[in-house]
Symmetry: D3
Subunit: 249 residues, 6 copies
């Protein structure tokens, strides 16, 4: 996303009169995304920037621009060396990372925050812009896991993605010789596979106890929750009510 | 993608003066995609429709409209029942299918066909519109695997995705009771995980023999090929030349 | 089993004055089994035909002949191409299918139906001949699994065996070139292994919760049931009584 | 197989004028099988006794009776305690043992010995009765594995089946309390699963190198051999000839 | 540990005025350890001999010498053939055996016995010298597992270590040809890996149910117990009290 | 190892007139090990300090003291929180780390360096004290793996151990609440298991190709090398000679 790309595409996007703007960029400090941010901050539409670790460095600037942000530290740089820029390799890497971000709950946080924004826009209430760094600490706090080892394995998977980022950075920007950077990227991509496996293990644990939480939307777009596989999703309020009933018993 | 969506978005897309149009839809026979196809067939820009199994039914129509197509029979319907329309569940399902489509070579066929189109557009030669059904037969024929068991496992993974489609169709459109359709969707999503695992096994076999093929693009956008991990990618012509040299020896 | 085999063996079998006849054939419509069926239908002894998917086509005929049947759609054709008719390959294939049929509950249905027949013969009551197609639907309904994901994985394993049948049919009777049918059989046999693994996973889930159901026979041949590993099997009536006692509490 | 069973069934079997008799019994020293052996040794038809470890004790007697034998030490006693005499449990146990006996090569030895007998009967030459104890030593010597670690894993699987026999013997005939024998049988059956997994690993290694040996029969019943998956089976003599050709080069 | 080693090292050890002596030797009947035992039995300090299976043969002698003993039958001889006396191979073998001895509870028995000795020494009460053979029977009785299948898998792992000992003995002291002993050692070391995997499975089961028992020491060196991951360890007495409270309810 | 411990034990050790001193400490900067280092540096005996990551900070000091060092960055701090200081948990953690350090080659580097020291002491040549930081970079350079993916997986395992150190440091010294530090330690210990699995995978790859390198010592203590399982170890010089012979061909 160069500055030119932004200048060509932005006007057409704004012609749709959007109610909400979401800007996704691995590094929102680069000129293209910076241009887009500047533009977005001047439009009277709520805007959220979704980014990975490099986004942490411009948190203050994002807040000054009146933008929300969701910084996903577990969404690592791919091994962007020619040898690995094979579309198949890249899709597999992404498949592994998607699995980790989905199972650990990073995606859960993102969609719930966006859901809330959509809800305030629909109901005309003042939108609350999210400003979150989704690191392993937050993963731990907002996890849907019922089994504590499932949560520990999910956290482990998330930690591994941060290690991948570190290694790929070294491989892409520090090492110059292919004899050095090829093994590093290969190693980072193996970690991605191991992380996906750990995340899958975490989810299996919840299946084994029939405690896997799912949160589909109702027709009206509100989030429902279900735990036992064979039972229907219900609104969270109802869950709360049932719980307190049980406690009174 | 409703007809209204198409009518709103299409003009803006065409304002970019695209050189190539790619229309992706699980079922291009529905009104929205049909509208888009009609419009695209009247524009003098090469257009390719990417679709899954339902696309097979309108192959003749697509050819009449002068459109290319890539029909991926192994890209199955998700278990689109409320209970499973949890963003996390859906991302995991997609992660598994992405892994299968990448490793088995379905994505390889798609990007090579698009690459060729881009190449003819760049060089001003008449573009050859692809018209392919990517079924297990084609997967077998165009596979990059060097080990025949790796290929067999990849084919097995692809066959499983077709089974998923069949079961989810039953679960979404035939069974009415949740006591019937929930187990079916759960079952289909387990098969997706098993398919991803089989595909991964196939790829591991190639790693074990250091025969894994990668095909990154050169800076100019042409496809190079590499097999041994520590060796650089080369243009395919060069590969051919080396091979014939060896044969002359 | 040719017509001649049947004519040679049948008389000797009948000399044993059997109380119950069980005819097992993958395709009971073929001349040999047809001959046997004809003979059996004329003898005044209850008879059950056990068959796989091809048996479905002659259900009406079987009923006219007064025969019972148990058609196991998940008992697939082996990859009967010369290259794979190695006794070792065949035993491994059978090992995988046995595991799936046992764990998913197909064998449970078969032995319970035969048990009931034996019971009516012993007690002199009129035998109830089973007439069942054991497809994934019945597997779901009559499953002994306590965990719904275990059941879903078992169903997935059963669905895979139906896919194996489909592929081996193609490989054995449609494809002519070994370059085509060898990969197909290899692929089907990989699916058999994946199916066995899925079934095993299903059973492991029940072990993890100590909810695995076992149904040994009592000395008198009646079925008992046990769930917790360390507890003894009890007659089902007793189970029912205990359950209602608990409910009264 | 009681003495009465033998007396009822044997005459009918002999009415078929068999060319070859195969007597299978886990313990051929028991009265029933002993009766059958005695009868068989008086008939002028070649006869082979197939047995597991207990058969070793009557080797001398078998030789005196002029019978051949194949004693498979890796075919263990099942956990024959009421709690485990569930048909499903038993089928799973057998599935695991079948996999081990097939992959390790025990079945290969059995069918090759029987094949040779059939061959001499067909050609009217004097049959050579096999007299073999198939223990881990013989498994090692007659293995078809090309990779030495595959062979080691197969041997490991075979050793485990001997351990199973030992534990089940203890559980069935020594321990009296269910609190003692249930864990032992459960433990033995877990080892069966671990053994099947080790055997499967052994076979996978050969797939990874495309060196898996298959030995289908020709139409005339002679054994052919194939190694590379995509190549046709050939007669062993031809293999030998090719090998010596290569050596002359 | 030769006699000379013992004579050189023992005096220096005794200069520390130890309160407790622990002698670890795979075979305490050999001259070196025998010398050490003799010396230790004459010193007025409690002494425990830790040994593996060969120690069983001198139990009577150990008791006469007034020594305690802990004989761990599941701590097998390594494959001590030159080809495998690679430090890396040996460390991996040990890693596998450590995992089995830790998870199955063998180490638990050892440290609890030593803890008790330390406790009596600290409190000046007369020490109770342990005299235990830690075989699969004791593993079963003193297991911390809550799930009976976890216990069965742990017992299976322990049984395998005894098989390893048997095979390595054969490989190291009976077979003379490397063509015979290399496959045997390779096979024994594969079983070590399979045993570690089984043990790990056992522990995972407890994690899946959040019933994994941990027994850390308090600051004062007494053993506490915890089961649920997120809850603190408590003294066992407290556990007992809570349990009886619940029962009174 | 406190200062007092050092003062009590050191004199006794020196009474043995050692030829070589090896000081092992996770953090050699602490008072106890510092005392020992000071003493060792004044004795005219070659001394090597083996340490993990914290040792890096005193490299200069170690060199000034004339000591050698081997700093193993992949030997992480255990989760030293009361809840996890269960001897069983600790042994399992160590088992996983031992497997990683053995398979990745960290132990290989250590024993080869010590071997060389021993060799120079034996032959009376001036000993070369090793001064190495064994990080992933050195693991890569000195790896014995023949397959590049095996090496990449081994590197991945090693990287994970560094991540474990980082997390356990946080859990042990930064987080104060058990609700925070328990999940972190559980997560670190899961990564240890994942790392051991990755390392094991790396070794399996070499087995699959029969390219696993083993380096046993000869009777005289010199290192030999073997690769094919069934072939004997040879001295490296011989290997070199054979290689150059082949090249001359």
């Amino acid at each position: 996303m160069t500055v030119d790309d932004v200048e060509e595409a932005l006007p057409k996007i704004l012609e749709f009169n959007p109610d909400l703007l979401v800007l996704i960029s691995p590094n929102p400090a680069l000129p293209g995304p910076a241009k887009a941010r500047k533009k977005f901050s001047s439009v009277r539409v709520p805007c959220v920037v979704i980014s990975d670790a490099p986004g942490k460095r411009i948190k203050a600037e994002l807040e000054e621009q009146g933008l929300g942000y969701l910084i996903i530290t577990g969404d690592p740089l791919i091994g962007a060396r020619r040898e690995f820029l094979d579309p198949v390799e890249m899709a597999i890497f992404n498949s592994n990372i998607i699995k980790v971000l989905a199972i650990t709950g990073a995606y859960r946080i993102v969609h719930q925050e966006i859901d809330q924004l959509v809800h305030s826009i629909k109901t005309g209430t003042s939108p609350h812009l999210p400003r979150l760094v989704i690191d392993v600490n937050r993963i731990q706090d907002s996890s849907d896991f019922n089994n504590p080892y499932a949560r520990a394995k999910a956290m482990a998977a998330y930690e591994l993605t941060e290690k991948i980022a570190e290694i790929n950075l070294q491989a892409c920007f520090v090492e110059k010789e292919s004899s050095k950077y090829i093994p590093l990227v290969a190693c980072a991509h193996e970690i991605a596979q191991a992380a996906a496996r750990l995340a899958e293990e975490a989810r299996e644990i919840e299946k084994y106890g029939d405690t896997l939480v799912r949160k589909p939307h109702s027709k009206e777009g509100k989030i429902k929750t279900k735990t036992k596989l064979m039972e229907p999703p219900v609104f969270e309020e109802k869950l709360e009510k049932n719980r307190s009933k049980n406690e009174t018993l």
